[in-house]
């Protein structure tokens, strides 16, 4: 590991191009496609959202909805080929991520915005020790010696609940939960102001899940971090988040504060998510999963992508893309049914 001089603060000139803002993240009309010779996967279709400093945004949606892709775009890290950011503006701490040079991007990644990845079993390098992998972040962004970096690494290990003496061990010597902690330590190594956590706990069992979430919340509060938390689990959202964005087939279909999305649910898909939750108090009641499957993002319908599965869908929904209605300054839902001012969804949980 060597100190990368290119990343030294002096020659990246980030402060000159940084816009003043109190938003940690803002995304406008982001479109991301994966283009292969046979098809174009429309993974993210014109989404907009923002994250205020020190808040936590929950991003929920079923598999393939485009959550990971949107977050990779946030770091300007969509794998190319086949992925490509088609359009949109992405700002992180006032920096226009799509206009940064490679050296500037390398400087911002890890130090201002960091990501905890979905699968702890594959996201660590099997031939490097966990100490090397955590220390790498530190050495890249801070002007300190290897010995000091090792001390910092051990402190980080302690913070995420791993015996600091194990810094010389390799990923295969750790369990899934431990590896996820290593992933968290890597992401937190340089106290990023924006942290993306991509289903940090879905590969783990429930008790470990609770521990990791508790730890993340504590670390976030200690460091005044703003966070985007991707999860399938509405319970986790209720526990951790201030704001919620619900994604479906590459669109944000509902967006609002936790209170708005959970208690004043507007979008039929969000309703479906809540209705499909098992009810622990009434176990004889049948589960009500949303019928059908999300359309293939390589072959999206011209109207609302949810129309096929939506109990309220009309002909207009199938013909035209949904209109976005706002219900408060913060609460939006993309659903044509609200053209009718009397329309109400019938959420029963």
């Amino acid at each position: 590991m060597k100190l990368n001089g290119k990343n030294g603060k002096s020659d990246t000139n980030l402060e000159q191009i940084r816009e003043k803002t109190d938003l940690a993240v803002s995304v406008e009309n982001l479109v991301v496609h994966y283009e292969t010779s046979s098809e174009t996967v429309e993974a993210v279709n014109s989404i907009s959202f923002s994250l205020k400093k020190k808040r936590t945004l929950g991003l929920v949606g079923e598999t393939g909805a485009g959550k990971t892709t949107a977050m990779l775009a946030l770091m300007n890290m969509v794998p190319n080929p086949p992925g490509r950011i088609i359009e949109g503006e992405i700002r992180v701490n006032g920096l226009d991520m799509r206009k940064l040079t490679p050296a500037q991007l390398q400087h911002v990644r890890g130090s201002e915005i960091a990501m905890i990845f979905q699968d702890p079993m594959t996201s660590l390098n099997p031939v490097l020790t966990i100490g090397e992998q955590i220390g790498e972040s530190i050495l890249l962004h801070r002007n300190i010696s290897k010995a000091e970096a090792l001390k910092e690494t051990q402190k980080l290990l302690e913070r995420v609940g791993i015996d600091p003496e194990r810094y010389g061990e390799y990923p295969h010597q750790f369990s899934g939960g431990m590896r996820q902690r290593v992933g968290i330590a890597i992401a937190l190594a340089c106290n990023p102001s924006v942290l993306i956590a991509d289903e940090p706990t879905s590969a783990l069992d429930v008790t470990i899940q609770a521990q990791i979430l508790q730890m993340m919340r504590k670390l976030k509060e200690e460091n005044d971090t703003s966070m985007i938390l991707i999860t399938h689990d509405l319970g986790v959202v209720a526990e951790m988040c201030d704001d919620v964005a619900v994604m479906y087939a590459g669109h944000i279909v509902e967006y609002g504060t936790l209170e708005e999305v959970f208690n004043k649910t507007k979008h039929p898909y969000t309703e479906g998510l809540f209705n499909s939750l098992p009810n622990i108090n009434n176990r004889v009641e049948k589960l009500q999963p949303i019928q059908g499957l999300m359309p293939d993002p390589a072959n999206l319908p011209k109207g609302c992508a949810f129309a096929e599965r939506c109990p309220y869908a009309s002909e207009a929904c199938r013909e035209n893309p949904p209109e976005t209605h706002s219900f408060s300054d913060t609460h939006l839902a993309a659903c044509t049914a609200y053209q009718d001012p009397d329309f109400r969804i019938g959420r029963n949980k």
Partner: protein, 310 residues
């Protein structure tokens, strides 16, 4: 780890026994008389019979085999029928040349192929990929003897820069190593490329990128470290083949290695030399493969852990 190495060294013994027995057995079938080889066509039947008797050629196969293997333990592999020299001495006169040429050729192959393979993988399906793969095939497309003669004409005859034949210092190694090394480029480039392609898809590179690591470091530090095993395996295979002698290259450059000498000895039915050389080569090839196996442990901690357990 040490236990594993010792175990692997001991495993060389049955390999050598098997190889030596097979060589012995095959040589027994060859319809040619060592006594004639030694004494020439003019010898009388009595002289031939005397030679056979004194050299133990009339004993049963198994007896000769056991006696022969006993001799090896003392560094005695018999004498060449053709020129009366000790086979052991002959082998160790030739083998250092072969080893030098093999190592130099592998260096040429590695230095050219690994960058080509890595670049081809990183630029997969672009014109750069095509250029790299095509370059790697040039060595294969040109037969060794032809490339060798071409190089001799250019560098030795026309420019007078390098010696054309013999094994005399570093300068004389250059042309044979290029001739031999470029022939192996295609295989090593292809393996490097495909191994890198596998690794470049892996999630942990994304993790490194998210830390702010540079693309070049991601390739050299994170990706290549994970792509090494098939590459080193292929290098080991090429090394083993070269240790057996690069016959054509040795011929073209009059390089005094084991390969060309072994072929001559087969033609002359010099059984003692053939048997001894093949056994010694089997031992050295086994050592190369052992080294490759041990290298795995240094490249992948999971394999090291496996060795420690076994």
């Amino acid at each position: 780890m040490l236990k594993y190495v010792i175990k692997r060294i001991l495993m060389i013994i049955p390999v050598v026994l098997a190889v030596s027995f097979i060589v012995f057995f095959i040589m027994d079938f060859v319809p040619s008389d060592p006594a004639v080889t030694a004494l020439g066509d003019g010898a009388t039947e009595e002289q031939l019979e005397y030679y056979r008797e004194t050299h133990g050629l009339n004993d049963p196969l198994v007896v000769r085999y056991v006696r022969y293997m006993g001799g090896i333990l003392h560094g005695d592999m018999g004498t060449s029928y053709a020129n009366n020299q000790q086979v052991w001495d002959l082998f160790f006169a030739k083998f250092p040349n072969t080893l030098r040429l093999a190592v130099a050729s592998v260096v040429v192959t590695v230095v050219l192929s690994i960058p080509l393979g890595v670049i081809a993988a990183v630029k997969e399906n672009t014109w750069v990929d095509t250029v790299c793969s095509t370059l790697s095939f040039i060595g294969l497309a040109m037969p060794n003897f032809w490339l060798g003669l071409l190089l001799i004409m250019l560098f030795a005859v026309n420019l007078g820069l390098l010696p054309s034949t013999g094994a005399d210092g570093f300068a004389s190694l250059i042309l044979p190593a290029i001739t031999c090394g470029t022939g192996n480029m295609a295989a090593l480039t292809r393996i490097t490329r495909s191994s890198m392609l596998d690794v470049l898809k892996q999630d942990y590179l994304r993790t490194a990128r998210a830390k702010g690591q540079s693309e070049s470091k991601i390739i050299t530090h994170h990706a290549f470290k994970n792509a090494q095993i098939p590459v080193v395996t292929q290098i080991g295979i090429q090394m083993s083949t070269l240790i057996g002698g690069a016959v054509l290259t040795e011929r073209v450059f009059a390089w005094p290695g084991v390969g060309a000498f072994l072929v001559d000895s087969i033609q002359k039915s010099d059984f003692e030399v053939v048997t001894g050389f093949v056994i010694m080569l089997a031992i050295f090839v086994s050592i190369v493969l052992l080294i490759v196996d041990v290298l795995y442990a240094f490249m992948d901690p999971r394999i090291k852990a496996q060795y420690a357990r076994s």
